[in-house]
């Protein structure tokens, strides 16, 4: 095979390769799914005063259940909500929920809020005046002496 023939052979192969690529591109292009259209956003009516009150009462009820250790019961109750209702429930309780937030994220926000409320109120105690505290201490010391 002389040089001329070799060059012809390479050019033919290149032409073939080019065609193959063209076909491949066409195939990839045709197999691409059209961009899925987002479902149109349905704007729900704003929360009414009554609805907010109801959601806040429910939140307080669930929080108490959660405090009493019935975590799974709270979860079951929340699972019953549709995602939209759960978002509205979160919004009524001033949680930062968005219109596209998935259910588990909203549930997470509720759980964070429960924990935060617990932390905020767990140390609420009635402090005694200093004089009473000293008296208690003195009494303890006295008891120690006696023993």
């Amino acid at each position: 095979m002389n040089n001329e023939e070799l060059l012809q052979e390479i050019l033919t192969e290149l032409k073939q390769l080019n065609n193959n690529f063209k076909e491949l591109f066409e195939f990839v292009k045709s197999s691409k799914k059209p961009a899925s259209k987002r479902s149109p956003k349905i704007k729900l009516p704003a929360l009414t005063e009554e609805e907010i009150k109801g959601c806040q009462n429910k939140f307080a009820e669930l929080y108490q259940l959660w405090l009493d250790g019935f975590e799974s019961k709270v979860r079951d109750e929340l699972e019953k909500y549709s995602v939209d209702d759960l978002r509205r429930f979160g919004d009524a309780n001033n949680l930062n929920v968005t219109s596209r937030m998935p259910k588990d994220k909203v549930m997470q926000q509720i759980s964070i809020r429960f924990r935060e409320k617990k932390l905020l109120t767990q140390n609420i105690n009635i402090s005694k005046p200093l004089s009473e505290k000293i008296t208690d201490k003195e009494i303890n010391l006295k008891n120690d002496d006696e023993t």
């Binding site: 001033n94 949680l95 930062n96 905020l120 140390n123 609420i124 009635i126 402090s127 004089s131 505290k133």
Partner: protein, 290 residues
């Protein structure tokens, strides 16, 4: 004369600025004269009056303050005189002790030496009557009569705080919409009675500073975060006031978040904050007169 102390153990809640703005608001009301004390050894308020943002001193005040120190007429010197065993409180109150910001707004600056009061080098029993006696001196002096006196207290329970809280008419607690500020409110309310007794515990007013507006098209009054912590503050206050039999109120009026408020001491209250401060004062006054 009504006495109002602002305190919060948590620093950075805007205590100094809101106290200043409330004082200014009251001083601009008809026939009202206001006096404000800076009792915080960090001297935030005094420094805000002394130098501008670029560190340039305001000559009129610094000249006066130098004389005040030279003549031993600072609040610390008054305290020193008060705690010296003597049959009377030998400290004359005059224009070298009180600085005139305007005709109706007067000021007693802090001095670094107040740090000694944190170390309790003074007798606690003696100091507790200090502010009461000092106010008596001011009332009986030739100085103008003050309708309202504000105290910017340190973010700790120093001897001076104790002295103020044991004689003031109302304690104001500014809070911010954040977890630690609300948690701090719980701790502060729980410790106030313990620290002030056997003196009667004054009325306590709580208000939200730096309240945030909701974003977007929301028709809520506040951002979710602000509303949550406001609700929490109500819950804490309800619990503590009920259990400790204290007169505590969370005011409906709030002070919105504004960057410009930082310059309020030198440049006056930003225009859009004047009304919120007026509304807050109206509520405080109502609570005072209850």
């Amino acid at each position: 004369m009504k006495t109002i102390a602002t305190i919060n153990f948590k620093g950075g809640v805007g205590k100094t600025t809101v106290t200043w703005c409330l004082g200014e608001t009251v001083s601009k009301l008809p026939d009202k004269r206001t006096l404000i004390f800076d009792l915080d050894a960090q001297m935030s308020l005094t420094q805000a009056i002394t130098v501008n943002e670029d560190g340039v001193p305001f000559k009129s005040f610094t000249d006066w303050f130098d004389k005040c120190i030279q003549r031993k007429k600072t609040i610390f010197h008054a305290l020193e005189k008060f705690t010296i065993p003597s049959d009377h409180f030998d400290f004359a109150v005059g224009n070298d002790f009180i600085y005139r910001i305007s005709d109706t707004y007067h000021f007693v600056p802090a001095i670094e030496d107040l740090y000694w009061t944190e170390l309790e080098v003074f007798d606690r029993e003696l100091v507790k009557n200090f502010i009461r006696r000092l106010l008596g001196k001011i009332e009986n002096s030739n100085l103008p009569k003050y309708d309202t006196v504000f105290f910017d207290c340190p973010p700790s329970f120093s001897l001076l705080s104790y002295s103020v809280l044991s004689c003031c008419d109302i304690v104001l607690i500014p809070i911010n919409p954040d977890f630690y500020a609300t948690k701090g409110l719980n701790l502060l309310l729980n410790s106030l009675r313990m620290r002030i007794e056997p003196f009667p515990v004054p009325k306590i007013g709580v208000f939200m500073n730096r309240a945030k507006k909701p974003g977007g098209a929301s028709n809520k009054k506040y951002s979710n975060e602000t509303q949550r912590y406001l609700d929490d503050a109500h819950q804490v206050v309800d619990f503590v006031s009920h259990n400790q039999k204290l007169k505590i109120k969370v005011f409906d009026s709030t002070i919105p978040e504004r960057v410009a408020i930082k310059r309020a001491v030198q440049e006056g209250i930003p225009n859009d904050l004047k009304q919120p401060f007026k509304e807050l004062w109206k509520e405080i006054e109502g609570f005072l007169n209850e």
